[in-house]
């Protein structure tokens, strides 16, 4: 088989060490130099010197033993990484009307022959910003949520099993949103260093070149997730304009479709503008707030003209009115708890002296003030969230005419608590008054107080109810209850009213279990009865329980207040969207739970669910809860907008209450927030790596800066010795003969 070689080189076959070869060569050169100088006076010096030089070459040939080495070599292709930005901004239209991504696909399709030629020089590897890219993936629309160009480049460098890169080609609109830019229009220092460290040219191709990009974008909205009702909040809105000269646009703040405020914003390209709204939420609950700017003619991206967010408006504080018939330890420790609770705004009125008491002093020597019953229970009553009657007999204070106000307020949403003592419940004269209708226990006119040791015991409802959850629920909670200090006095009541629920009873008392804690729903309001004035014993307990009783006291009252004011977490009908913000196109999954007034799950309850957006588009569904009182539904293909979902629960016609929640469907992709093409960044990347910055319209694949393959593999070689043949011998003899003849004729021999 004939061997073929595709490369050659001149080599030395001399066995002499390299140093000796050098010395020999230098000696020959020196000898020739001396001879040349000696021929200066001769008329044939040219020929003499020529023959001597040829002889010297022959000597060198003998010493160095030159040969032509023939080699068969094969170049290993280095890699050319082609990185395609497949982020969502690539779907935006370019100047030609087609999308940026379609511009890229068009170029790829047109450049098949150039790509084939490149493929002979380099191994073409295709990537997107997250990893290898197949032909099939290349043909699908881009959906990337983020443009981290530098990370995409570095990921491509690390692939290829360590084989070297000849260069890279990045197809992108340059709309990086991962911190590539430092000062405006320039790469950040760290980004520059990382790019230079890659060590190969990066050629960038701007796929959005050739047209104007016009956009007004709400880039960011800064607002707290929570706000206190009637307290001013600030909402900061960052707006940017691209592609048009300075303009003024109206910025609008809305709450679920209702316009709350407007302001004009002066926009200059390249300078983000911050606008601040100050608004005072006037309702408690969850709301969707939106900030928007109008769409202008020719705007490239309209999805970033509105930004919505969910704001939970909560009470600034729970306003509690505590009325105590006399100072007592129970009153004192409850007051201490309420005063220490930062979520409570407490107004207390304690009856320090009754008409029968003899203070032995003039009014001016005492700090007593009149009990302002009229003001408290007429004009001020609506300002309270919870009213506590603690061992309080209303009769000495001519309050009969105000009792209907209290009952009506409870039915309209006020929380009401009656706490025991010898002036409470039936002994307080509340039987056959409007208060009777809002108290969970029966009011006997001949009620008694039992002074005996009584341990607290949870009822079945008490094990599930949020008020009595002093631990983490279940066994732990029951352990906490069973270890609490006993009460030594109990208001004996003859039972609870039909619609009430007993949560805690006594255990170990002579006459069997007595209800101690009972609750009831009263219209929009809620009420609670505590048939003892000895709750304070939990607060002042021995340290031997490690503070568990004190924690139980705090937890009990915190739970009770939250339940009384209908804290959404204690709502019996819970509506829980999977999240509060969905992307356009997402399925919206919502779960529901329905519980009885004793918080027992409602199996097979009916749920009438309505979801409605701020454009008035509504969808209704009828669901059935499962055995655990839960239901789930997934809304599909809901259009973008602010949504409120309401669920009303019934069972065989019986109203079980309702619940609601809000959520937002909008595209808040970073890709569409700042979608303007950034050819300046693409050029900076190319400049930093000695690559070329190209436009999609150019002859891209013919102008790439790359590094040639450096690694050559040798498969076989053959040496052709130049001195070891007949022709060399003949030439040597001829040269020596000529030299001898010349020197003889010139008189040197």
């Amino acid at each position: 088989m004939q061997e073929t070689y595709n490369a050659w080189s001149l080599v030395s076959l001399s066995p002499l060490p390299f140093a000796w070869r050098v010395i020999a060569c230098l000696a020959v050169v020196a000898a020739v130099t001396v001879l040349v100088l000696s021929y200066r006076g001769s008329s044939r010096r040219v020929w003499l010197i020529t023959t001597r030089l040829l002889m010297a070459l022959c000597v060198l040939g003998v010493l160095v033993e030159p040969a032509i080495q023939l080699r068969a070599v094969r170049k290993i292709k280095n890699r050319l990484a082609v990185i395609v930005d497949r982020s969502a901004s690539m779907t935006l239209p370019s100047a030609s009307g087609t999308s940026r991504y379609d511009q890229l696909l068009g170029l790829v399709n047109r450049s098949a022959s150039q790509l084939k030629a490149l493929g002979e020089q380099h191994t073409l590897e295709w990537y997107d910003l997250s990893g290898p890219l197949s032909d099939a993936q290349l043909a699908t629309p881009p959906r990337g949520e983020r443009s981290d160009l530098l990370r995409g480049i570095e990921a491509a460098v690390g692939r290829g099993n360590g084989r070297p890169l000849s260069g890279m080609v990045l197809f992108s609109d340059g709309a990086d949103n991962a911190g590539l830019e430092g000062e405006p229009g320039k790469l950040g220092k760290a980004a520059s260093e990382r790019l230079e460290a890659i060590g190969v040219p990066i050629n960038t191709v701007n796929v959005a070149a050739g047209g104007a990009f016009v956009d007004i974008a709400i880039v960011d909205v800064v607002a707290d997730e929570f706000a206190f009702v009637h307290n001013t909040i600030s909402i900061e809105v960052q707006v940017e304009v691209t592609g048009i000269a300075g303009t003024t646009v109206p910025l609008t703040l809305k709450r679920e479709g209702d316009i709350l405020a407007n302001q004009e914003v002066v926009l200059t390209p390249g300078k983000p503008q911050i606008a601040t709204f100050k608004t005072k939420p006037d309702k408690i609950g969850e709301f969707v707030y939106s900030v928007s700017v109008p769409v202008i003619a020719g705007e490239s991206v309209t999805a970033n003209n509105e930004r919505s967010f969910v704001l939970q408006v909560i009470r600034d504080k729970i306003r509690v009115l505590q009325v105590a018939g006399r100072p007592s330890w129970d009153e004192r420790f409850l007051r201490q708890h309420l005063k220490e609770n930062p979520n409570v705004d407490l107004i207390s009125f304690f009856i320090l002296r009754t008409p029968t008491d003899i203070p032995m002093a003039d009014e001016s020597e005492m700090s007593l003030i009149p009990f302002p019953v009229e003001r408290l229970f007429t004009s001020e009553l609506s300002s309270f969230d919870v009213v506590i009657f603690q061992n309080f007999d209303y009769r000495p204070y001519q309050m009969e005419r105000y009792l209907p106000n209290i009952a009506a307020a409870v039915k309209n949403g006020l929380g009401f608590v009656m706490i025991g003592g010898e002036q409470s419940f039936g002994n307080g004269g509340y039987a056959r008054t409007p208060i009777e209708g809002i108290v969970p226990v029966r009011l006997d006119t001949q009620a008694t107080i039992v002074h005996e040791r009584a341990q607290a015991a949870l009822t079945e409802a008490g094990r599930r109810h949020p008020i009595t959850d002093l631990g983490r629920g279940g066994a732990s909670n029951e352990r906490i209850w069973s270890a609490l200090p006993p009460w030594l006095s109990i208001n004996r009541v003859s039972g609870i009213v039909q619609s009430a629920t007993t949560l805690v009873t006594t255990e170990g008392t002579k006459n069997g279990p007595q209800p101690v804690v009972a609750v009831m729903e009263v219209g929009e309001g809620r009420s609670m009865a505590i048939a003892t004035d000895a709750m304070w014993r939990w607060r002042l307990s021995s340290f031997r329980d490690g503070g568990a009783s004190q924690r139980a006291f705090h937890r009990f009252w915190s739970n009770a207040l939250r339940w009384l004011v209908r804290d959404p977490e204690h709502s019996r009908v819970q509506v829980l969207p999977e999240k509060r913000r969905f992307e356009v196109g997402d399925d919206v999954s919502v779960s529901f739970t329905v519980r009885e007034s004793d918080y027992q799950p409602v199996p097979y309850g009916d749920l009438d669910v309505t979801v409605e957006n701020d454009h008035g588009q509504a969808q209704a569904e009828r669901l059935l809860t499962n055995e655990q009182g839960a239901a789930r539904f997934t809304f599909k293909s809901l259009p973008g907008g602010a949504y409120r979902i309401r669920a009303k629960a019934t069972q065989q016609g019986r109203d079980l209450g309702s619940g609601q929640a809000v959520f937002v469907i909008e595209s808040r992709s970073l890709e569409l927030t700042r979608a303007a093409p950034r050819p300046d960044l693409l050029k900076a990347m190319a400049d930093a790596t000695s690559g070329n910055a190209l436009d999609i319209s150019a002859n891209v694949f013919g102008q790439l800066a790359t590094i040639d393959p450096e690694v050559v593999e040798v498969d076989r070689r053959r040496n052709i010795e130049l001195w070891d043949n007949a022709w060399a011998l003949v030439a040597l003899v001829a040269i020596f003969a000529a030299d001898w003849a010349l020197r003889r004729r010139s008189g040197y021999l």
């Binding site: 007592s328 207390s348 700090s367 002074h451 006095s489 021995s542």
Partner: protein, 251 residues
């Protein structure tokens, strides 16, 4: 006091109250009522046996507070300490240090909301009882020193508007106290308050209070009532709604 006066006083007292008849101590306290609990310790722990019952009687007579007239006796080493939020510590002379258990119990009691009234009965500045109590207080609250109670503190207006300090022996024209999280948990009077209030079953004062007589006793009662009221209502009288009334009456 003459015999007929004693008889008249006895009739009045029996008619108006049960102060003369010391009720038997209940096996367990009634949670409803306020009750003084006298701290028992190795020493002269009950030098004014008629003082606290009399104050309890006055509190019942003058205010709406339901009061158990009997004074409980409590050992700081036992769990029963926590049945009584208001502890009174009296004495006339020095005593040996309390046990660690007692110190820990008192610290937890006072930190959890309890109140301790220390009433030095020995009637002299820097007496043995006072010195010993100060020593024990440093063990209970090493980081909370005794300090003078400011004249505008709510304890001086919790029921009566008081600007004097009463007591059988007017050693200090001020109260001292230890504040725990802003609350006056320990109240220290060097003036033998109980000595000024102590009255026997026949209405006879146990001790002479010197110049000022009845007025000093009345101030002592008022200050005592205010202490009880403060322990039960805390800073209630500093609520905003009370301030205009109090300022008007202070003028």
């Amino acid at each position: 006091m003459k015999l007929y006066a004693k008889a008249a006083a006895l009739v009045c007292l029996l008619a108006s109250s049960q102060v003369a008849a010391q009720p038997a101590l209940p096996s367990e306290p009634r949670d409803t009522d306020f009750q003084f609990a006298l701290l028992k310790y190795p020493g002269d722990w009950n030098p004014r046996p008629h003082g606290l019952p009399r104050l309890a009687w006055e509190v019942r007579r003058r205010t709406s507070i339901a009061v158990d007239l009997a004074t409980a006796q409590v050992d700081a080493e036992g769990e029963e300490l926590f049945n009584y939020p208001f502890i009174v510590w009296q004495g006339t002379r020095s005593f040996a240090g309390l046990s660690e258990t007692a110190i820990n119990n008192l610290r937890h009691h006072l930190s959890s909301g309890g109140t301790l009234l220390i009433d030095a009965s020995d009637g002299g500045e820097g007496g043995g009882f006072e010195q010993a109590v100060r020593r024990e207080l440093r063990r209970i609250f090493a980081d909370h020193p005794l300090e003078r109670v400011a004249p505008d503190h709510v304890i001086y207006k919790s029921f009566y508007l008081v600007d004097r300090h009463g007591g059988r022996t007017p050693i200090h024209p001020y109260l001292e106290g230890i504040f725990v999280e802003g609350r006056l948990a320990v109240i220290f009077s060097s003036n033998d308050l109980a000595g000024a209030m102590a009255r026997d079953e026949y209405g006879e004062w146990d001790y002479d209070v010197g110049i000022g007589g009845d007025a000093v006793r009345e101030v002592s009662f008022r200050l005592g009532v205010n202490m009880v009221m403060y322990s039960l209502c805390l800073d209630y009288k500093e609520d905003q709604v009370h301030i205009p009334f109090i300022l008007e009456r202070r003028r």
